[in-house]
Symmetry: C2
């Protein structure tokens, strides 16, 4: 029987202890606000089934998912947690939220009306969150819609709102004028509403300072090791390591094209290592000819196009004794910072995480006791 | 209970009848060569568990996967098919291939040696495929390695090779000089080997004409509706349709920024629809500000950045009566050609397919009886 690594596919190691540490760093920085956790999109691709219990073990009580069905799945994993569904109740599925004790985020007049109707006719202690739009124009009631809601006491009372939330569009750019504008709009619209707990900050929002923390912060990506404060030293511990073995090593006898489209030309004497990870595994095709990996800390460039199931690396600069078929190469982690890789791919660490594919062997490092 | 669509997430419809039709089109074009099917990467993201039996039902007998573990999974689905593992046997896992009757593609001297050793010591009728590199420098023996193999009769005989294969780097560019060079190299290296069946063409290779068909063609992406002959009318039936409902519709009261980074500014009076599909669902972030969707055939642009779980569309040009929350929008399919979307994203249809996420409701249209 082969060892795990020798099965050829990549090995994705997810450090739950680092996630727990990151949670605590964010918690200290946000106190006295409560620190919740965004575990939508399967905990940003890292596996909500393992990540959410680790966070709960670290004291996290409030979890955010995007879709109703994510909430239903998380409820099975965390029977006692408070779980908010950011996309709110889909029309006609309101009762599913009640059944699974999921707290809706109401962002749209139709959602508000249907939820109020349900709450009026259904004895339920379930409360709701109201989302208001403060300048991102994505989800949340606008000013006119908030005013209409406030004018309708019957509906407003039926909702049993506990919390008002909004979302920052530019929190990763502290000097962007929209941050101050969104804060001002948040205060202005909250003032129209009865007193409610307030929630505004995502990961980057936490690093804008206490003025954006309010009662409940909702970090996501920072928990998973992405730098929430671009341009500064990353305050988070890295969470993800991706390695994969070389499945073929070629010493070029003559000059040769490498990969699809023959876009890369290698000279005679170069050594090309092929690794069985490709864009179907979330190693984005935009890393063609610009990504890099690492062997024992030595940087090796991706040459040629990323294929569906394979990448090719020029390992000529690595001593021959240190690279052979079966040798593990670091693709994310040591020597291959997640955020730097994302920048090379023209995207952000978030997309690298959520793209991580299903063919990796996933190993979880447990939280320290 | 909500209808499926009203659960908010996208609905991915996969037309197995179109896949079967596409298989037959490729089969007719490739005859008398046998037409196999590449179902690696979970049938290019579409679900090997459903796609492979549909292809087998259409008469396909030869299937290609990338990884050993994909082969083991496919063997459970297709007990009688011939299944080739393109990445070959990982070191130490050779016996797993024998156990599951998977045919290895041997691309590297170590694989060759280990497989020969196993074949010598294990009574098994399992044969193997030899991959040779004809100019892509990704997988396959080079000339010197082929010569060394041919010189070693004991190993060569032990392998029980039935087939020699290679892979084209530029088949989607018929005029690229590497196509002719690869064909010439293929003939040249085959001449060194004993007589074997030959396989060279992927989807685009089939469209290079009979000279590249040999005994067995291995289409993948064309089965799934991507145009294998870019620049010409797509000869394949579309396979994938992705729709998702509007979860919020905002009529802008004043000018507003839309989405992360406030990179898009909308004027007062515009209508912005939010749809609960984002890059975590494989709607690539590179479609920010340049993708488009379709409502009843009317084209609506993606405005602002693609978020993890959401996109925002300017639907101002669609009559008000034809768009409201809950309304389904086409993201791939009618009015949103897969290849055109890929081009907008700076990639190819293959990556759009393999990125399709796990939160969609997947519906399969069965093959016609």
């Amino acid at each position: 029987m082969a060892t795990d690594l020798s099965r050829g596919a990549g090995v994705l190691t997810i450090d739950l202890d680092a996630i727990v540490d990151n949670y605590r760093v964010l918690q200290r920085r946000s106190a006295p606000a409560e620190t919740g956790a965004a575990v939508k999109a399967d905990a940003y691709g890292l596996g909500a089934e393992r990540v959410a219990p680790a966070l709960a073990g670290a004291g996290c009580r409030s979890f955010f998912v995007a879709h109703l069905d994510e909430g239903i799945a998380l409820r099975r994993i965390l029977p006692a947690a408070w779980i908010a569904v950011l996309h709110g109740p889909p029309a006609g599925a309101e009762r599913d939220l009640v059944e699974h004790r999921l707290t809706p985020v109401l962002s749209e007049p139709g959602q508000v009306t249907r939820w109020a109707k349900l709450a009026t006719h259904t004895p339920s202690r379930l409360s709701a969150i109201l989302q208001i739009d403060t300048g991102m124009t994505r989800l949340g009631l606008g000013r006119t819609e908030v005013e209409a809601l406030v004018a309708d006491h019957a509906i407003l009372n039926a909702l049993r709102l506990t919390t008002v939330m909004s979302h920052l569009a530019c929190a990763d750019e502290p000097l962007h004028p929209l941050n101050a504008a969104q804060l001002a709009r948040f205060d202005e619209l909250r003032a129209l509403l009865p007193p409610l707990k307030a929630s505004l900050a995502n990961s980057s929002g936490i690093f804008l300072g206490p003025g954006s923390h309010f009662d409940l912060v909702r970090p996501g990506v920072a928990l998973y090791g992405v730098n929430p404060a671009p341009g500064q030293k990353n305050p988070m511990r890295p969470v993800v390591r991706l390695t994969a073995p070389v499945i073929q090593l070629r010493h070029l006898e003559g000059p040769a094209a490498v990969g699809y489209g023959a876009r890369h030309r290698s000279e005679a004497g170069r050594r090309i290592a092929t690794v069985a990870v490709g864009y179907a595994d979330g190693y984005l095709r935009s890393l063609s000819g610009c990504g890099h990996a690492s062997i024992d800390g030595l940087r090796v460039p991706v040459v040629g196009r990323v294929s569906m199931d394979l990448i090719t690396l020029d390992v000529t600069e690595v001593p021959e004794s240190r690279v052979e078929p079966g040798q593990a190469i670091d693709l994310i982690g040591e020597g291959c910072d997640l955020d730097a890789l994302a920048a090379k791919a023209g995207t952000i660490g978030y997309e690298i995480l959520t793209s991580l594919g299903g063919r990796y062997l996933r190993r979880y490092l447990p939280p320290a006791a």
